[in-house]
Symmetry: C2
Subunit: 230 residues, 2 copies
DNA sequence: CGTTGAGTTGAGGGATATCAAGCTGCGTGG
DNA sequence: CCACGCAGCTTGATATCCCTCAACTCAACG
């Protein structure tokens, strides 16, 4: 979308085949700008797009959650971000995806529109253009924060930051329902599942959180979490 | 610049005073779009803008280099990126800076324009709007790569990635002149100066690089560096 | 009741941080 | 021209945080 229109689209990278028998749904961009998109549903672990594929579609999540990640040659994985209902994903600076996206939950439902359609819209509609700019700017900000977390925070500080981020994204007050498993959390925080587990257990011992189940976390002491995350 | 124009500008955050007696210089944005900007010069370590300040200017580097960074309450610093001549910095998703910028070299020269001016331009000129979008998209991509490096790479892999990045940014073939000191490199790579030094010494012993001086590095074996960085 | 996958816990090891000392280059002043 | 001081850099010894490997628990499911 950021490429010069003439250069948009690519023949050298594989395209993702759109599953047949998918229904059409409205993709609301900004006030007054709606596009007809394709509705698709994925089960847990299914790929929405893959690293190196042609980035010719943009997606909005209707329900469920998605992980966006990179994998290195030796299998080490870094999750870049988790996306939730309402979020847009698949935006790329180039015409090729530089990461992969997979559904985290069963029945994750998304609407997809063509990148070329979006490009046409932002080339004519100023408000849509500003909306996309704000969107990408927010993603950039998220990535900068993520880099700070990965570069200069200890395990407990990363965990605290993650929990606070999840509370914020879920617009919850103090109870988080984690849609992702421990290995997803570990690969987001640059840790191992064992360290994630140990850190959460320690938080529980310290009375900072309560874990009725492994996916359900109540934040009991936000102040401590905030000062840890700083 | 990504905020709704009505909300742009902020009264709650300190503004940076523009040094007097600074000359006016053209700020070239895209083909056909030039703005009159203010030329400023900084010595090594001087602040261009600070975390929390009002983000009401956008800067292009004429000469020298700049580090953009965050500092945590306990002094731990994470450098987000290094900027070189031709690069634009100071773009923010919000109206407030979320990081600080300092000159790395003496006589670092920049041109600054008002954020509001840029906002007016991209609200009317489609090409300028697309240019800024591409710019922010590239920054986002850089940050994503940085997060991968910080989250899932060992010291030697980070160092290799850094050297290759510097070669690319300086448009050089195999010799890098580092404008930044070891502690800047360490804070960019999420390491300590000792580890940076040890890693470089080990690279030299292995014949991967040569270091005529601490700031001058010749890359002797690009293949090894590339496979390390993966 | 066995199986399976996710999560937890424990023991030991390794990569990098920390602390400390020494080196190098360079400007400054005698 | 050389001694001095200083900041940046390197090197060594030790500490520590987190990873690795392994065993175990638990819940879901047939």
């Amino acid at each position: 979308m950021f490429s010069i229109p003439v250069l948009a689209g690519c023949r050298t990278h594989p395209r993702r085949r759109i599953p047949p028998s998918q229904s059409q749904t409205a993709f609301h961009l900004t006030s007054g700008v709606d596009v007809t998109g394709i509705r698709m549903t994925y089960n847990c672990g299914e790929e929405i797009y893959g690293d190196g594929e042609c980035a010719d579609m943009v997606y909005r999540i209707i329900s469920g959650s998605v992980r966006c990640f990179n994998i290195r040659y030796d299998g080490r994985r870094q999750i870049e971000y988790f996306y939730f209902p309402g979020d847009i994903l698949g935006l790329e600076a180039r015409t090729v995806h530089h990461s992969s996206a997979e559904a985290i939950c069963d029945k994750t439902s998304i609407v997809a529109i063509w990148r070329s359609t979006l490009e046409e819209i932002i080339a004519t509609d100023v408000r849509a253009s500003q909306y996309v700019l704000r969107l990408v700017g927010q993603e950039w900000q998220n990535s900068r924060y993520h880099a700070l977390l990965l570069g200069r925070k200890h395990a407990a500080e990363r965990m605290a930051g993650f929990l606070l981020e999840m509370v914020r994204l879920q617009a919850a007050i103090s109870t988080v329902t984690l849609p992702m498993c421990r290995s997803d959390i570990a690969d987001y925080l640059g840790l191992t599942i064992e360290t994630v587990s140990r850190t959460l257990t320690q938080f529980e011992r310290d009375g900072i959180i309560a874990m009725p189940s492994s996916r359900l976390i109540r934040l009991l002491n936000m102040d401590v979490l905030r000062s840890l995350s700083a």
